[in-house]
Point group: C2
Chain length 296, copies 2
């Protein structure tokens, strides 16, 4: 990982932390709810989806302000999903980013409202006036909604819950991953590239979407691998929980070595899809390598 890329990543992460702190209210009304929203959203996270938004924005020389709004919206949607997925009725997790999960630190009712209100705030931020051409902005917002709704992320979580104890074949497993994780990653790339003055050509859009689908799957395969091979301390969340919950994963389906090989082939395909973009794709390429090599 080049020093330049590391610096860029750290600067995006720092910008996100500041912007998240600024966009989440800190008020006397519903003070505990607002405190819990900040607890869930601030204090770390790799910010992979915001990094994808900014990296995709480099393809089109996008406006910083619009990219930041998209990055915040995508990250808030991701954060809301973590808070709700961690609830006892869902995955019942107690550790996230090295700290107690939101419902453990606060309470279940608050965590439920935190997720609800973070989702709302995401769409509110993306509806701010003057970011890009309004019709395009509506399109980006609709894309984020579609990606995170019942045919995307939320639907994927439903499939995930229903798949506990079952053996899925590879197409079934990939459909679940595509919905649960892939759709939001794909949306992040689409939003970043949608912030340029001009739209990408249809060919470039197709290539970029092909990249985004591979990157999304890659992210999830690595997640499956890390769940098996990394420690709770390194991950900041409970390790080994897929196996403990008897959830089908890439590793349970194909074994560790084959899953590693599959990740490598996804990385390769993702990078191939970027060939037509030239030097502008530098950040996306480095980010893909980071996603593949990450240790947490």
């Amino acid at each position: 990982m080049s020093e330049d890329f590391q610096d860029w990543m750290a600067s995006v992460q720092a910008r996100m932390e500041t912007a998240l702190a600024q966009c989440l209210p800190l008020t006397g009304i519903a003070a505990r709810l607002h405190e819990a929203m900040r607890y869930a959203a601030l204090g770390g996270g790799k910010r992979v989806r915001p990094l994808l938004v900014f990296a995709a924005g480099e393809l089109v020389a996008a406006k910083e302000e619009a990219l930041l709004a998209c990055a915040l919206a995508v990250e808030l949607i991701h954060t809301y999903s973590l808070v709700h997925d961690d609830l006892p009725a869902m995955d019942n997790d107690t550790l996230r980013r090295g700290r107690p999960t939101c419902h453990v630190e606060f309470d279940e009712a608050t965590a439920l409202l935190v997720g609800d209100a973070l989702q709302t705030r995401a769409f509110e931020l993306l509806a701010a006036p003057g970011l890009i051409a309004p019709a395009r902005q509506l399109e980006l917002l609709a894309t984020l909604a579609r990606a995170s709704g019942s045919l995307g992320m939320a639907g994927g979580q439903a499939v995930d819950l229903a798949s506990v104890g079952k053996t899925l074949n590879q197409p079934e497993l990939e459909l679940m991953h595509t919905m649960k994780t892939g759709s939001l990653i794909r949306a992040a790339v689409f939003l970043g590239a949608g912030c340029g003055k001009a739209a990408l050509s249809a060919t470039r859009q197709t290539q970029l979407d092909r990249f985004a689908k591979r990157a999304g799957l890659l992210f999830q395969v690595i997640d499956d691998l890390l769940d098996c091979t990394a420690s709770t301390a390194t991950l900041g969340k409970t390790a080994g929980k897929d196996k403990a919950a008897d959830k089908p994963t890439c590793v349970s389906l194909m074994g560790l070595a084959a899953a590693r090989g599959y990740a490598e082939s996804l990385r390769h395909e993702a990078l191939q899809s970027l060939a037509g973009f030239g030097a502008k794709a530098g950040r996306l390429i480095a980010l893909t390598n980071f996603i593949c090599a990450r240790k947490f």
Copy 2:
């Protein structure tokens, strides 16, 4: 209640039922989640917020398609809030619209995802292309988000949960009601009137907002009254639950007779605010009288 108003109300309710059925997917993927979303959203409800959208739309001769999108979005937000509020971690209710609540009929995890995905679908529908001028559409969407987020509806629910067992004074109680119930009703009126070709004048907008605030409070005062005076069979939800849960309400604060008088004065003030709109406000006037006289 005039026959004409009754017919209009029935026609809006029927149109909403059809449109909700059309806008909620029925797919093989995440089938149980989609079934549960339809269970929560279809099969009745007074559709007060959609009625407000359509009635406010008459002030500005709004386009039917835009009004329908706004009405659907507001109703889906309302429905998501009911599904989540009914969960065991929140109000723990088992009966809604005369049927088992969503988590009782399905399960908690599904009900959680139902609420999440209904909220997402609301914003997706309101971001559809070509409804009204895109910049205005973004403004309506941002308004709905603000009204339903942590400084509006979701925040109001947090305050409501925190107020159990406490005695609130009237300003505190009204702030809670304004957030929890009033903000979405106010947004419904704003969205309906925002679907016209031209925006209302600043004066008319202020008058209409004054109306909407009174109508929202009126709705909640009547809700408090009905919780004390109506039966579970009539309400289709558990009666007497405010008292059982030791929640502060208008009735616990001022007594039945004074709460009735207060409702009447809110109705009067609401209607006064509409004076400048002439005959175009006919539906809003009749709807206000309906909200005040409703028995469930």
